[in-house]
C-alpha cells in the first residue's frame, strides 16, 4: 500500500533537515503507529506525504499502490486515496459542513471518473455515518470547524474520513485535546472503518490511543528517522520507560 524509501526532507525556507532517511512500508489492511518525542519529524512526515507547501524533498520516494505520491498535487493524492486527519482541523467560516463534505466527495469522485452522488444519496450516507460518530444535524449545518470543541473537531475529521473512504488514512495526533469519552468515540469511528483494503498510519505521543486503536506494528521515530520497529508491546515499553532508553540504544 504505502511505501516510503529513504525519505529526506528539509524546510523550504531554511537549511534545516527534518527527515533524514525514513523507510516505512504499510501493508494493505494494517494499522501502523508512529510514536516519538516532540520534534522527531512525525507531523512533517504526514504533511510531506499529503503535499503541504513549505517542505523540500531532497532524496527518497513515497508511493501509494505504486503511484509516486511526491509528484502529485495534494488533491490528486487525496483522489488516489490518501487522507490526513489533521492535528489542528482548519476553520472555514461561512461554509456549511455539509456543503464542504459534498464538494469534497464529489471532487474526488469526479477526479476518479466516477459519477457524482446525488443530493439525496449523499444526505442518506452522511446521516448514517454522522450518527455513529454522534454528530447531530446541527453540527452538520454549522460552518466547518467554526466554534467546534476539540472533540467535535476530531469527530468531524473522522466523519470526513468515513465519507471519503480513503485507502490510506494518516491520523496526526488525533488524540490530542480529547477527553476519555471523546477518544473512545473517535477510536470507535476509526475501528469501524478498518477493513482489508484500508491501512492506517496513527501518529501519537501516547500509548493510550493505541489501547483503543490496536496497531499491528509500532515504529519509534526520533531525529528524523525510524529507530525501532516492533509489535504493540513496543508502545507499552515507551509508556513505561519513556524514550530515553530507546534513544540511548541508538546512539
Amino acid at each position: 500500500m504505502l511505501e516510503i524509501k529513504n525519505l529526506h526532507v528539509k524546510l523550504e525556507d531554511e537549511d534545516k533537515q527534518i527527515l533524514k532517511g525514513v523507510n516505512l512500508t504499510v501493508e494493505a489492511g494494517k494499522v501502523h503507529a508512529i510514536m516519538g518525542p516532540n520534534g522527531s519529524g512525525k507531523s512533517t512526515l504526514s504533511y510531506v506525504l499529503s503535499g503541504r507547501d513549505g517542505y523540500e524533498v531532497t532524496d527518497g520516494e513515497a508511493t501509494l499502490d505504486g503511484a509516486d505520491l511526491l509528484d502529485l498535487e495534494p488533491e490528486e493524492r487525496a483522489a488516489a486515496g490518501l487522507f490526513l486527519a489533521f492535528q489542528y482541523p482548519v476553520e472555514i467560516p461561512g461554509v456549511g459542513n455539509l456543503t464542504f463534505l459534498r464538494t469534497a466527495v464529489n471532487a474526488q469522485r469526479k477526479a476518479r471518473g466516477e459519477e457524482e452522488l446525488s443530493s439525496a444519496d449523499f444526505l442518506k450516507v452522511v446521516r448514517e455515518r454522522a450518527k455513529t460518530l454522534k454528530i447531530d444535524a446541527d453540527m452538520l449545518k454549522r460552518p466547518v470547524n467554526v466554534g467546534f470543541s476539540g472533540g467535535e473537531k476530531k469527530r468531524n475529521e473522522i466523519l470526513q474520513m468515513a465519507m471519503l473512504e480513503p485507502k490510506m488514512c494518516i491520523l496526526d495526533e488525533t488524540d490530542s485535546g480529547l477527553d476519555v469519552d471523546a477518544m473512545k468515540l473517535v477510536s470507535e469511528g476509526v475501528n469501524a472503518l478498518r477493513s482489508e483494503g484500508r491501512s492506517f498510519l496513527v501518529i501519537t505521543h501516547y500509548q493510550r490511543l493505541l489501547d483503543h486503536i490496536k496497531p499491528d506494528v509500532v515504529h519509534i521515530m526520533a531525529n528524523g528517522r525510524i529507530i525501532k520497529t516492533g509489535g504493540p508491546e513496543l508502545a507499552l515499553e515507551v509508556e513505561n520507560n519513556g524514550y530515553a532508553d530507546l534513544l540511548a540504544e541508538v546512539e
Binding site: V90, I92, G94, T99, F100, L123
Partner: protein, 509 residues
Amino acid sequence: MAALDRPELDVKEGVDQDTVDAVAKLSGKYKYGWETEIEMEYAPKGVNPDIVRLISEKNEEPEWMTEWRLAAFERWETMTEPKWAMVNYPEIDFQDQYYYARPKSMVEKPKSLDDVDPKLLETYKKLGIPLKEQMILAGVEGAEDYKEGERKVAVDAVFDSVSVGTTFKKELEKAGVIFCSISEAIKNHPELVKKYLGSVVPVSDNYYATLNSAVFSDGSFVYIPPNTRCPMELSTYFRINAENTGQFERTLIIADKGSYVSYLEGCTAPQRDTAQLHAAVVEIIVEEDAEVKYSTVQNWFPGDENGKGGIYNFVTKRADCRGDRSKVMWTQVETGSAVTWKYPSCILRGNDSQGEFYSIAIANNYQQADTGTKMIHLGKNTKSRIVSKGISAGKAQNTYRGLVSMHPKAKNSRNYTQCDSLLIGSQCGAHTVPYIEVKNNSSRVEHEATTSKVDDDQLFYCRQRGMDEEEAVALVVNGFCKEVLQALPMEFAMEAQQLVAISLEGSVG
C-alpha cells in the same frame, strides 16, 4: 432535520456542487466577452445640444422631456469630473464616445421570429434568456401567447442604448403593474414620469448623473400600484455591445403605498481593448408601507489580466423611503468593470423606514472598485444595516466608502455596519473609509470592520480533501460572502456564486 431533506437549501451554505461544475466548464475566461455583429444605427460621436435633441427625437419624446435634457446638459457643461474616489484611470474624452446606438432591425417591429436578426436572438440565448423571452425581446408580435415553461420572471433587455422589449407585459398589466422601457413610459405615462423623474437623484446631483440626465437613451420603468404585490420578479438585462459607445440607462421604480416588488438587474459587455463608459442612474421611490428589493449582479467586462480595456462604471443609485414604514433593500454583487464608482444609497425620510445594503465587491487583476453606500436617516426610528464584503486579488484596489448620517430629527434611529475585507495574494489592497455623522443623542451607530487573508491552511485543508485550488478558493470566498449571497433571490444567488469563482480564477498560485 426537516431542512436537510431539501438539498436546494445547500445553496445557502456556500458553494453548491453545480456551481463548481459550471465554473469548471467556463474555463476561466470572461463568459460574456463575445460581440454581436449587428448593423447599428449611430448618432455622430460626441455630445452637444444637437445630440441631446437627436436622442430625444429618436425616442419620440414630448417637448418637456427635451427641455429637461437640455437643461441637464447646460448644467453638465459647468461641472467637473469628481476626483475624490480612490480610483485611477486615464482621462475620459467625453467627445470621443457615441451617445446613441441601436440595432437597425429595431426600427421596424418584426412580424415573426424569422424576421428577427438571428444575431440578436443569439445574443439573448448566450445571456441565458429563455426562448419565449427571446421572442418577446426581439419584438415578435404575438409572442406573449407562446407557451413554454412556467418561468415567472419578467425581463426587459437594454441592448446598447435601446430597450428591445419587455416580457410578461399583459400579465403584469392585469395586476396593474407597469413594467416597460422608460422611453415608453415617457410617452404613455407622462404624469408619473414628470412627477418622479429626477426627484430622488436631482439633475444637478453629480457629474455622471447630470450627464446621464442629458443623454440617457433608455432604461426600465416600474410602477407598482397601491397595496399590490408584484406577481413576479422583474428583471432587466443591460448589454453594451457596440464599440466606443457609452451606455446611459435610466431606471425609475415607484412602489406606491403598501406595495412590494423584487427587481433584478444583470449587466454584461463584450471583451474589448478600449475602455467603455457606463453611467447609469437608478431612482427608487418607496411610499408608505411599501417595500422594494433591488438586486444587481454586475458583470461588465473587467479588462484583461494586464488591465487593458474594461468598463468604467460610474453609477448613481438611490432610493427614497418617503413613506412611513417603507423599506428598501439593495443587494449588489460587483465582479466586473475596470473601474467601479458606485454607492447605492437610502434616504430614510419616513418614520420607521428601513434601509439595507448588502454588497460583495470583487476586484482582481488591475480592477479598481470604490463602492459603498449612504444611509441618510431623516425620520424617527429609522433603521439601516450595511453588510459589505470586499475581496481583492491580483493587483486590484478595493475601497469601501460609506456614509451613515443621523439627522437631528432622526430620533431613536439605528445603524449597524459590518465591513469585511478579504485579501488574496500580497499585491492587492483593501481600504475602508466610513463617514459617520450623528446629530441627535438618541441614535445609535455601530461599525465593525475586519480584514483577513485567504489562509494557506484553509486552502491546503480543502485540497487534502480533494478540491483543486480554484474550487478551494471559490469555497472559502463564497463562505466569506455568505451573508450577502443569502440576501439574493435564489436564481441570482447561483449565478453570483459562479461569478465569485470565475472572477477569482488565476488569483492564487
